[in-house]
Each structure stands twice: as structure tokens, then as C-alpha cells.
Symmetry: C2
Subunit: 340 residues, 2 copies
């Protein structure tokens, strides 16, 4: 089959890779209906995260089951399924507490590489959620978004304790941040302040429910948030970048007793203990346990209550994967959908 | 009046200080019934926290009101009162959310120094809670504990989301950690694991409700907690020290999705963002908003449901304040009560 492989920073190609096959009786093989490029794929693409030899890329996926292993009982060939970037058994004590991304049997789908025609999904019973019927073609991008960026933005909002009546700030205007805005609206936030300096992203933020846009960042941005919130800071702040600046911007934008939900994968971040202590904020985040939210998110998408698929502002055939990465790297695209 | 003054590391003396007087119409003057030495007083005493010239010491207090300013309406002379180490108006938006230690008008009582005969308490209406009647002498140590260490341990347990049925670990066997054990028991924890290598502290931990004692610390201690909890870690961990080692011990002892409540004042702590991210724990803490809990804690003490005063294992007259510090510094005493 054909699948994307990163050979070196900036060098991603569509190579011929081995067809995946059932390796464990709990596996399923899916034929990808759509896949995409993630903001986190840009870390190795940009050489910020070291890459050791050619690696298959991609961890977001929706598709149709081709084959299942002997022990798979809850999904079957022909079903349209969505899963998260962590395979999980969904039965262990950690999964049952809602942290499937830290399942005791968790496997990173990124190691498999779903920017491809087919993919092997481990722990299919715990990982995959089937739609009731074959979904309408137009809903496929939204279902694909649920696989990672919507689930991550949603977790950010939950971790930030978003609730009706609250003021929420969102640091990061990538797909996860924008879908954090959408999640905040769905969870009843009264006011949603999005940090963004890019017009197309500002527009999408507004379409997803942002009531205010702040173009300043760092401590200047923090000062504006304070001004907008009676000097206190926001009650809930979603962090969706993962840098030192964005984390400090999120913590400093939050009032004492407020909540920071952080879902940007941390890169070279160190948090000063004394400042964190006296900030008196709640801090929660990590790799989003997307599986926890999938049934609810799929339902909202199939009933067209939400339209997270509009984060895809570039759609390309899989064989143009290189351009898909380039457009995101140069911030010409928010998120690239790839059609196998 | 006489009051404790720290002149240099290791040099605390009972000096003659100016009698406090009403400076603002919202002040009250109290005559101390009892005061004490805090673990956090040892930071400057040990020279770890810089001291700039002679400073009055002490921030814990119970006593009888001598005089109130013209605007004070909720407490009056003759009443026995307890307050926290932060004065707070208890009416601002941050106070109403339960974070009185970060009140917009917060004042640090430590700057006033309550290891003395009298003290001026700012924002008396918001800060002080009166007992219904003059309390029994034997309950005074417990009421004094509520002023800081009980309130801090209680907040640690609340921040760590302690609830019935949970397994709780407590890092730190000082007064705050020990009272965190007591709080965990009162809040219904099923299993309470206390880290302690000192026999007298282990005994008190058991008296307060600890079900297990772990003498190892750091990553060795973490390994034991994992062994005791099916490999997962505790659901709730209370951190009551404030060092790099204790913070990492607390985070690593917590299962994914679990809660760390940290109340040890941070000293030279930097948290690695990537480890924190993948830990997927909730982190909350800071200067305890003791005022939030005072009415409930006072009620539990007056009905003798709890006996937090037993953390005081050394009682001295105020003029032996130097020995009170020394005994705690050398870990001969858990906590010293001083009688003015």
C-alpha cells in the first residue's frame, strides 16, 4: 500500500509500505476513508523533535473495517469506525476512570502511521467506535476531527472546567485551540476569548463561538485578558500549543482558583514552582483521553449539532502529502485532510 | 509588648515591640491566647529564605478581641476569634469563589508577627471567625491549629480531591502533612498512606487515620506506592513539603487522572512540562484559603470530632521562643505552641 513516511526534517514522501495484517487477535485492519496532518506532526517535520531514520506518519483516522482478529467482538468488517491516537483496552482501571490515553495497555497509533491507505488498529474492541450506519460523505471530515483535534479541544475544555456562565480564554489558534473554542461554546461558556493574530483563524474562532479576539500574546496578551475580566483573569483557560510562552500565558491568564486545561504537547517547558504555587490555579491536561468523549462527539456530529470538520481548510489526495505538510508548516493551512 | 523577632538565621529573640494599635477602621486588636511556630518559619530561620534585617515572626493566632476599628461590625471586644495567615475581605469575587488567600485585598499576617502578646488583624470582619462562647482551655491548641496547619492540610486534601473510597498518599510528615492525614480520614478516604521515617510522627499519623506507613522517599517511595496500589499509584496525593523531591514524589505517586494537592510552599521547584503532561494528573494547590474552611473546622473542634491540637508536642512560654524554633529545626518537636 501507499503511506506517508518522514525521511528527514522537511522531507515527507508517499512510499510503498507493507500492507498491514492482523498481528494480534485483538487487532482490526481498516481501510482509511480519510486521514490528516496534525499540528504535532510538525514537530518532527520541523526537526524540533528528533527523528531516527524513516518513520511512518499519521495518527488520525476514520475508515471502514476490512478484517478483524479472532478475539474482536464489538466491531465487524464493513462498519465505519473512528478511534483515537491511543489504542486502549477501555476496560482497565485507568480507562474506566476516563483516562484511556494512559490505559495500562495503551499503544500509540503514531507508531503505526495512518497517513496511508490501510492501518492496523490494536485493541479494536476498546479503541474503535462504530457509527450506526455508513455516514454521509459530508460528515466524514467532522468524524475525522473527532479522532484527535476535536477530542483534544474537548478535553482541554473539560480539564479547564468550562461550565455555563464562565469566561474562557483559549491560547493557541491551531485546530485544537479552535475546537477548544467550539467545545467551550457547547459546554455553555458565557464568554470565549480567543488569542489569534491570523485573520482566517479569527474568523473560524468566531464561527465556533468566540466572543472576543485578542491579538497580543505573552504578558501583553495576559494584560488584555485581565482588563477584559475585571482584573481577575479568566475562570477557565485552554492551552493548545505546548511551549513555555503559551503555558505561562495560560497560567497567568487564569484567576486564582481558576482552571488551566492544557493539551498542547509540552516541548521544553519548565514550570516555576513558586509562581505556580501563588497562582493558585488548577492545572490539568496531558494526552487527551479522546476515547472517553467519542460516543458523545460522534452523536453531536451525526445530528449536525457541531461542525468541527470546518477546521480542514485544505483537502488533498494522499499523494500530495508533502504539500499538505508544507502548507501547514507555512501556516497557509490550518489543517490538511488527505484522501487516500 | 513582647514579640519574637528574627535577627539573623538561627537567631530569634523575644524583643520589646511597639504595642499594635488600630491603623485602619477595619482593623481589630487581639490579645493572643496562644501562638506557635510554623514549618514555614524555619525557611528564614535556616537561612534558606533571605532575611533583610530584623523581622517580626509568626502568622498563626487565636485570641480575644481587645478593640475594633469603627467599621468592624461582625466581631466585637471580648470574643474569642480564629483567623488565617492571610487577612481577606471575604466579599470580593475571588473570596466568594473560596480563594480568600488570594483576596484582592489580601494582607499577609506574617508581616505583622503573631508570636507576640498582641496583634493587629486587618480586615477583621472578613478575616476573623468568633467561637459561639469562650472555648474550653483544652480546645485552644486545636483552634490554634485551625489557623494554619489544619486549614492547610484540609485544603491539601480538598485540592487532592479526597473522597470516600479513595486511596490517598501524603508526602511530608510535618504538622501540615499529618493534618492532611486527619483531613483525608474525615473526608472518607478508604486507605491513607503516610510517608514518614520518624517514629513519633508515624504514631501521630496512625492516630490521625493513616493505614500504611512508607519510610522510603523519592523514587524508592514512589515504587512502594505503586506496589501498594496495583501498579497505578494513589488516586489522591497531598504534598506538604515544597521541595523539588517532594513535588516529584507526589506527582509520580499519583495515577493518571488522579489529583495532587500541594500545600508545601514551593522553594526552588521547577516542574518538567513533558513529565507533567504525560502524568495526566490534576495539580492544584497554593497558599491555603483557610478562611473557607474555618467555620466547619471550628465546629468539628468544638464538638470534639477531631483533635488537631495533638500536633503540638512541645508547649513553651513565649519567652522560650528561641528553644521553640530550635526544637523544630532539630526535628525534636513536630510543632511548638507558645503561651504569651
Amino acid at each position: 500500500m501507499r503511506g506517508a513516511v518522514l525521511h528527514a526534517p522537511g522531507d515527507v514522501r508517499l512510499d510503498t509500505r507493507d500492507d498491514p495484517r492482523i498481528e494480534h487477535p485483538t487487532d482490526a485492519i481498516i481501510r482509511l476513508a480519510a486521514t490528516c496532518v496534525c499540528g504535532s506532526d510538525l514537530w518532527p517535520y520541523r526537526g524540533i523533535e528528533a527523528v531516527d531514520g524513516p518513520v511512518p506518519m499519521g495518527h488520525e483516522y476514520v475508515g471502514v473495517i476490512e478484517e478483524v482478529g479472532a478475539e474482536v467482538t464489538t466491531v465487524k468488517p464493513g462498519q465505519f469506525v473512528i478511534g483515537s491516537f491511543f489504542a486502549s483496552d477501555n476496560t482497565c482501571e485507568i480507562c474506566r476512570a476516563g483516562y484511556q490515553s494512559r490505559c495500562v495497555h495503551a499503544e500509540l497509533i503514531g507508531a503505526i502511521g495512518t497517513q496511508a491507505e490501510y492501518a492496523r488498529i490494536p485493541l479494536a474492541d476498546g479503541t474503535l467506535v462504530a457509527t450506526p450506519a455508513m455516514p454521509d460523505e459530508k460528515l466524514v471530515p467532522s468524524l475525522l476531527a473527532a479522532s484527535d483535534v476535536l477530542g483534544a479541544g474537548w478535553f482541554g475544555a473539560i480539564a479547564a472546567d468550562v461550565a455555563p456562565g464562565k469566561t474562557v480564554a483559549v491560547v493557541g489558534d491551531g485546530a485544537v485551540g479552535l475546537l477548544g473554542v467550539l467545545a467551550a461554546r457547547e459546554l455553555g461558556a458565557e464568554r470565549i476569548i480567543a488569542f489569534s493574530r491570523h485573520q482566517s483563524r479569527q474568523q473560524l474562532a468566531r464561527a465556533f463561538g468566540a466572543t472576543d479576539i485578542v491579538t497580543e500574546r505573552g504578558d501583553e496578551g495576559v494584560a488584555i485578558i485581565k482588563d477584559l475580566t475585571g482584573g481577575f483573569g479568566a475562570q477557565s483557560v485552554i492551552e493548545a500549543v505546548g511551549t513555555q510562552e503559551s503555558m505561562m500565558q495560560a497560567i497567568r491568564s487564569t484567576r486564582p482558583g481558576g482552571h488551566v486545561g492544557y493539551v498542547g504537547v509540552s516541548h521544553d517547558v519548565t514550570l516555576p514552582g513558586d509562581e505556580l504555587f501563588f497562582s493558585a490555579v488548577h492545572l490539568h491536561g496531558g494526552p487527551a483521553p479522546v476515547r472517553r468523549f467519542l460516543p458523545d462527539l460522534i452523536d453531536r456530529i451525526l445530528t449536525e449539532a457541531i461542525d468541527p470538520g470546518s477546521v480542514f481548510d485544505l483537502t488533498l489526495p494522499l499523494n500530495q502529502v508533502a504539500e499538505g505538510y508544507k502548507a501547514m508548516d507555512e501556516r497557509r493551512a490550518i489543517k490538511t485532510l488527505l484522501q487516500p
